[in-house]
Amino acid sequence: MAGIESSSFFAAFLLAALAAASFLTCLPFNKKQIFTAAEVFTFLYLVAMTVSLAARTAQSGHAPMANRFESLACFAWSLGFVYWYVRIRYNEKRVGYFIMPLAVLVMFAANMSPKDITPMTPALDTWMFETHVASAFVGYAFFGASFSGAVLYLVDKGHAERTLERLIFRAGYYGFALFTISMVIGGIWAYLAWGTYWLWKIKELWSFLIWIYYAGFLHALYVKKLRGRGVAWLSILGFAITMFTYLGVGVMMKSTHQL
């Protein structure tokens, strides 16, 4: 099982790199064949990551979220999943310009992390932890999709504006809904485990920050002055906050809420 896990992980890493390279090649050379190749690589990447995570789950007996490697691998999987969601729902493949290079960076960070299987501590060994983390990661990935739509909207003005506006808002809303699930389940779990649903810790503060920021983002759509470019910029800033919360606060700064 360990062999399947590691070989599919490295295959996924390679496929992500090929997909990202193909998407980036599409920027100067807008060729249909290169787009098709990028999409094939992205699809295979998602399959390989799914196999890798499933094999790891079978090996460890718990969802792959117990340490930094697993957390980053889950986030990388979420990016692939959200790419395909956006591709099917909005027929917008250009989000791959941003999502797949980001997936490569996340895979690289995962590859640099210790890959040992670590047991779940008793406090983490609950469905609430798994739901909390999984919904946060898929939420982050949707914020990434909203960000991608926003960048496309700003740089490629005039092209499929209405679709991109819908993508920015709807992906932001999906991210917000998933992040709300993460916050609420996390709060209930924290109450049962630590006696309070809120802790004055840096990760908790930044998680609150993401949630309230995107609540504001959803309201901004109804403020005339902010429609269009304003909302696009807010989406970009929102994703920067999200990434700082996950990678900056969660991984680089010391916290009891490490991941």
Binding site: P122, D125, Y173, Y174, W189, Y191, T196, W200, I212, M253
Partner: protein, 426 residues
């Protein structure tokens, strides 16, 4: 007054207030992170207790918290005013959807012409689960009419959560670190009842890692056992209006067994030196063993002096004093894991550390959160309604039947409905 209401009723205020909250929280999070000496005990106190006691002592670092509280309260008021202002017209419109019936041209004029009269179109939309309203030759239909109320349910949930959190921040209770030994009973700091630790237990996985740990507790009130249960890592015990949480656990020693040999009397046996008194007599002799120091995990420094490497019971060592006829005759260190080595020297008496008389302890936090259920209900409501709004969309149809009564111009928000109407169009 009107100006104040209008100010609080603004969506712009919502957005800019949120951006301000984000900026202040970003700043504050860094201050909090780098000044744990100031903020480290916030979680073991109620927010408002902390803000009224420790906060003012360090205003240069804590001012942002007061500002954050004010802004969050203002956001709550903003949410409430927006809800009060917008909800009644929404209810009115729900009851009478034709009151604001827009003319078909307002739909953008991009509709389709279909070969259906009022009855046919009404029947078709009804089968598509639209609620159909007719006024003269105008038809208005709507699906998922309840959806516009959902943002207000979310707002109500958020306000309820905020009020609950405010109440808990003022009237809750937190106690950290109630230590109990197995079999010990102590008075609860949170109320007029007793807590007894019956048993602490631990489950491990085949690889030796810890799977779960927990304590079986009994709550005693007025001399009666009123509740018994197991408190584990994610399962508190709810009792007497509060909740008891499992925290740390470990082993403490209540005494030390010393193997004593006295050459002059021929005595050879083990003596328990209780931790409480710190000494014990060697039976049938004039000797007494006293314990001066205890190190759970001892190492030796360059001068051969023991020092504590950790708090684990990895290499226990004791410093003993031997008394003869009431006065100290010699002193030295003995080590449990190295029974043959001893810095203790006495011609007549030999002492070896035979073991620790240990007992298991478990520690607990006791919290009372008067609004926990309110917060739970509010947050779960917000979560469920947010999910609901992902799956349902409010769809609307406007139609105007022409003079012949057999054709209608239709405008709808659901593009897929056009495709189905196309099959019937002309």
């Amino acid at each position: 007054m009107r100006a104040v209401w209008d100010f609080l009723n603004s969506l712009k205020l919502t957005v800019y207030l949120i951006l301000a909250i984000v900026a202040v929280t970003m700043y504050g999070s860094m201050v909090l992170y780098f000044h744990q000496d100031i903020f480290g005990d916030m979680d073991s106190n109620l927010l408002f207790t902390w803000l009224s006691t420790k906060g003012p002592e360090h205003l240069a670092y804590t001012w942002w918290l007061y500002l954050l509280v004010v802004m969050v309260v203002l956001l709550g008021v903003n949410t409430m005013v927006c809800t009060i202002d917008r909800l009644p017209p929404l209810v009115k419109r729900y009851k009478d959807p034709l009151m604001n019936l827009r003319d078909i041209e307002l739909g953008g004029g991009e509709g389709r012409e279909v070969a259906m009269g009022a009855d046919g179109l009404g029947g078709f939309l009804g089968r598509k689960r639209y609620k159909v309203f007719t006024q003269g030759d105008n038809i208005y239909a709507e699906k998922n009419r309840w959806l516009p109320f959902m943002p207000y349910v979310i707002h109500a949930g958020i306000m309820m959560f905020m009020v609950g959190h405010l109440i808990s921040s003022m009237y809750g209770y937190r106690y950290s670190g109630l230590f109990l030994y197995e079999g010990e009973t102590a008075k609860s700091p949170a109320g007029d009842y007793l807590i007894r630790l019956d048993k602490f237990s631990m489950d491990t996985r085949p690889d030796g890692s810890m799977k779960q740990y927990g304590s079986r507790l009994t709550i005693i009130k007025d001399g009666q056992e009123v509740k018994t249960g197991r408190v584990t890592a994610n399962t508190p015990m709810f009792a007497e209006g509060g909740a008891i949480y499992q925290r740390a656990f470990g082993e403490d020693f209540k005494g030390i067994w010393v193997q004593a040999g006295v050459r002059s009397t021929g005595y050879n046996g083990t003596v328990l030196v209780p931790k409480a008194t710190g000494y014990a007599d060697i039976p049938g002799t004039a000797y007494r063993v006293g314990i001066e120091n205890f190190i759970p995990d001892a190492g030796l420094d360059g001068n051969g002096v023991p020092y504590a490497r950790s708090e684990d019971m990895a290499n226990p060592a004791i410093q003993v004093t031997l008394y003869k006829g009431g006065s100290a005759s010699s002193r030295g260190w003995i080590f449990m894991n190295q029974p043959s080595y001893s810095s203790f020297r006495d011609g007549d008496v030999s002492l070896v550390m035979a073991g620790l008389d240990t007992k298991t302890y478990s520690s607990f936090d006791i919290n009372r959160d008067p609004s926990a259920l309110t917060a739970l209900f509010a947050s779960v409501t917000v979560m469920l309604v947010t999910i609901l709004t992902l799956y349902f969309r409010r769809e609307r149809v406007w139609a105007k039947v022409d003079g012949s009564g057999k054709r209608a111009q239709v405008v709808c928000t659901d593009d897929e409905l056009y495709d189905e109407l196309d099959g019937r169009g002309i």
